[in-house]
Amino acid sequence: MPEQGSGEASGVETVLDSTLDSVDFAEAETLKVAEELGFDEEDLHRIGMAVRECMVNAVVHGNRYNVKKKVQFRVLKNAGGMTVVIRDEGEGFDLKTLPNPLAEENLLRQSGRGLLLIQAFMDELHIGRLEPHGTEVKMTKYLAKAS
């Protein structure tokens, strides 16, 4: 639903299964909206990858492919850019306990770089816990900052 007074209009809002097909779907739907808004090719790549990483976190690490758990996916567009909100029903996590992927001792770890890439590719990132369980990730990209 559009938030009153925020100037945001809902581009896409849907509930997805915890599958890799949902990852592809979310990326494709986000890119449609981003293209409509006029983001350039490089930013489309960055936005698409950020959404992909976030959806993988929700499906794989949050919901752990559980068929009973869903992912809420929402894209909001406005004159200044776009915001993507992804919610899972997983156990949640504490950002402070995540290993720093840039620390020397972690460079050869196989995983743990998703959030780093989302932070690098989007202009704003907010991560919150949902009650009674789950995680909400809200990420924004501004057209004004498009490179």
Partner: protein, 114 residues
């Protein structure tokens, strides 16, 4: 399209030409299996050509790191050529540019193996 891999020999260096996307799922597992297989067969000089790789996500990056570790643990070396700007950016963001040896052209890379 997920990744397609083919290998060829240049002297005693095994060059792997990768085409497509290295992402979570089939692409990443294809890559992992190929590197493990080559390392297990005693290939110690492996050059990975990424010039036709259009997309790598964090899982794909993880597989590059895993491949590097696998080959190194077998006493070998894994090096990279043909990085697109986007892949270079990813390696810089993740600081993996400090881990991998990266070359612009194949002949220099082949000569660099000891």
């Amino acid at each position: 399209m997920s990744v397609k891999l083919s290998s060829r020999q240049v002297g005693d260096v095994t060059v792997i030409d990768a085409v497509g996307r290295i992402t979570l799922g089939e692409g990443a597992s294809t890559f992992r299996d190929t590197i493990k297989d080559l390392a297990a067969k005693g290939n110690q000089k492996i050059l990975l050509n990424l010039s036709e790789v259009s997309y790598i996500d964090s899982s794909g990056i993880g597989e590059l790191v895993s491949g590097f570790t696998t080959v190194t643990n077998h006493g070998g070396q894994l090096k990279l050529i043909g990085l697109t700007k986007r892949v270079k950016d990813l390696l810089q963001i993740t600081k993996l540019y400090t881990v991998f040896e990266v070359f612009d052209d194949e002949s220099s890379a082949v000569r660099s193996f000891t």
